[in-house]
């Protein structure tokens, strides 16, 4: 799937086999993707994975290597264009508000550089402040030092949006504000994206943030895109162990193919036990297999009451962890692998879980509720 159905426009952002090295360090290796106009696209990964370098190449602060591919914005190759010659705006990690200029002068800065008429500047600054829900009467004349983190964030956003950019780059813009406000801003950013139809390229290391806001996510690892897809795709069908681990939580089971059946492949688990997985092409007897199973796809049951059509591995309850919305039961298998099972918390005060430390228990899951991972 590429962008919204029915839209046949040129991609707003296109990265074609882009590489970037700093000395001997490769920051971005042969990355390609296309982002359609109006899309909310996230670059997600741990620090040092290359996501910020990639964003800086879109902005024009870094150039790809000499033979390092092409960056196209609105269909035009921009490799050698300076940042001020690109059709984009950016929100910086620590906002980068100009400390010597008031809020209105900060927001007006880009318009002033474009020689916009004075009256128009006033008008547009006002509406940009209103757009990010900062009352111009209250905030226009404040200095950045007189604002809270969340307010600075909004000013930074207004300063970028006032230019009506086709593309907005956001570099971990919510990293420095507290959780409650962050959740609020996530939804606001998402609705701004839909309302303004601006293409958002959003860099974050926070998987939950990426899942909440994005139309699509490029999960990056070691200078490469490990997986690109919608939030549901990367969460439910993680291709590699890295993606499964980085986005949400996962239990991993390793094994070797024992036999291929009509519908299922039977696998001997390396630590003991056996499980079935859906039939896959190219997996024959003797092949090694690694699967990921999300804690919420697992169930816990008495060892002698496993549903016959499910996979099950027996063990002992190691711990029960209270997480609020869910309960995690940690089950230790005989080979010391600890498996997390997520159960809905139906109220521990009125209907406590029947499991406690030391109980014998089996973790069970439907064979189709697993993700067979690719070798990394």
């Amino acid at each position: 799937m590429e962008g919204a159905p029915g839209v046949q426009a040129t991609p707003a952002v296109e990265v074609v086999r882009v590489s970037k090295s700093f000395g001997a360090t490769v920051a971005v290796r042969d990355v390609s993707f296309a982002v359609m106009p109006g899309e909310f696209f996230s670059l997600l990964g741990p620090s040092g994975c290359g996501k910020t370098t990639l964003l800086r190449m879109l902005a024009g602060f870094e150039e790809p290597n000499a033979d390092g591919g092409e960056v196209r914005l609105l269909g035009q190759v921009v490799n050698e264009r300076r940042p001020y010659e690109r059709p984009l705006a950016m929100v910086f990690q620590n906002y980068a508000l100009f400390p010597h200029l008031s809020v209105e002068r900060n927001v007006a800065f880009g318009l002033e550089q474009r020689k916009t008429p004075k009256a128009e500047i006033t008008e547009r600054v006002r509406s940009a402040l209103a757009l990010v829900r900062l009352a111009p009467e209250t905030f226009a004349r404040r200095m950045p030092a007189q604002l809270s983190g969340g307010q600075r964030q909004r000013v930074a956003l207004a300063r970028a949006l006032v230019l009506n950019p086709s593309i907005l780059l956001l570099d971990e813009p919510l990293g420095a504000i507290d959780l409650k406000l962050r959740k609020e801003m996530q939804l606001e950013l998402k609705s701004l994206n839909k309302e303004l139809r601006t293409t958002f390229i959003y860099v974050t290391h926070d998987q939950e943030e990426a899942l909440t806001m994005s139309d699509r996510i490029a999960v990056m690892e070691n200078a490469k895109v490990a997986q690109l897809g919608t939030p549901a795709e990367v969460y439910e069908n993680p291709r590699t162990a890295f993606v499964a681990k980085f986005i949400g939580e996962s239990n991993f089971f390793d094994g070797r193919v024992r036999a291929r059946g009509e519908e299922w492949i039977e696998v001997d688990r390396s630590g003991g036990g056996r499980f079935r997985i859906p039939r896959q092409n190219g997996l024959g007897p003797g092949h090694s297999v690694r699967i990921a199973v999300r804690p919420e796809w697992l169930d816990i049951c008495p060892v002698d009451a496993v549903p016959s059509d499910e996979n099950a591995l027996g063990g002992t309850v190691r711990d029960v962890v209270y997480l609020g919305e869910t309960m995690h039961v940690l089950v230790g298998l005989p080979d010391d692998l600890v498996v997390a099972v997520a159960l809905r918390n139906e109220g521990q005060l009125i209907k406590p879980l029947p499991w406690k430390k030391g109980d014998a228990a089996a973790v069970a899951w439907k064979p189709e509720d697993c993700q067979v991972l690719e070798e990394e």
């Binding site: 902005a59 024009g60 602060f61 300076r82 940042p83 001020y84 690109r86 984009l88 705006a89 950016m90 910086f92 990690q93 620590n94 980068a96 508000l97 100009f98 400390p99 010597h100 200029l101 008031s102 002068r105 800065f109 880009g110 550089q113 474009r114 004349r141 404040r142 200095m143 300063r159 230019l163």
Partner: protein
Amino acid sequence: MSTRRRRLLGWLERHPEAQAWALLGPGTIWMVVSFVIPVLIMCAYSLMPRGTYGGVEVGFTLEAYQRFFNPVYLIILERTFVAALLCTALCVLLGYPVAYVIARSGRWKNVLLFLVVLPFWTSFLVRTFALIFLMRDTGLINSWLLKLGLVREPITMLYTSFAVLTGLVYGFLPFMILPIYASLEKLDPALLEAAEILGAKPAARFRRITLPLSRPGLVAGCLLVFIPALGSFLTSDLLGGAKELLIGNLVQNQFTTARNWPFGSAASTVVMVLVLGAVLIYLRVRDRETVGVI
């Protein structure tokens, strides 16, 4: 002993004003004894009759000031201000780019800063004599120019206002570079990137971001250069000869050879009042500017 010390520290912790006074005290006493009292004595002397063999006699007179406001001395005053202003301007023009480069030179930063302060390892007097050897008619510069055939006769450099200015700039340049460097070093590079992506080309980025944010350093540097340049006498004495007398030389003469302490005090007081006035006006204007932005 240790309990008493602990009790004292505890008491200080509970009394922040006392703590502040304890920290400010020694410095304040030092400044009062070595600066405030001498300045007051100077102001007093400027209003007293001169003693026959130096010093002052008890009494009150405006004679010294009447004498000072006379074209002969006002020319010296004007020359001094022009020299100090030129020196400050040249130090800005030469020093700002240097500070800018040092602030962005990464791992070479410390080496370059070391080079800036290196001249302080030698006495200013010795360095001024070195300038004489460079600039005199038979000095290094002229002998090279003659050897290279660029000039037929040596260029007179020593004992001109050019020599004085060169000496002043040479002596005070580090005091301009260091504070500007300090403020440029603090400048967050992300601000320049933000300005660039908002459409600002290099010149606009400098004018709208770098320059205003380095202004505290620039102001500090200007004060550190302008004020001592006003009072300098060594440079003009050695490099300017008798022709290029500055107010510092005048004051020095009055206290030594001429033995007219009230007149020397009056000249000093006039300069001090002018400088104070200039700084106050500057601060006023600046405050108004800041208010204007908001």
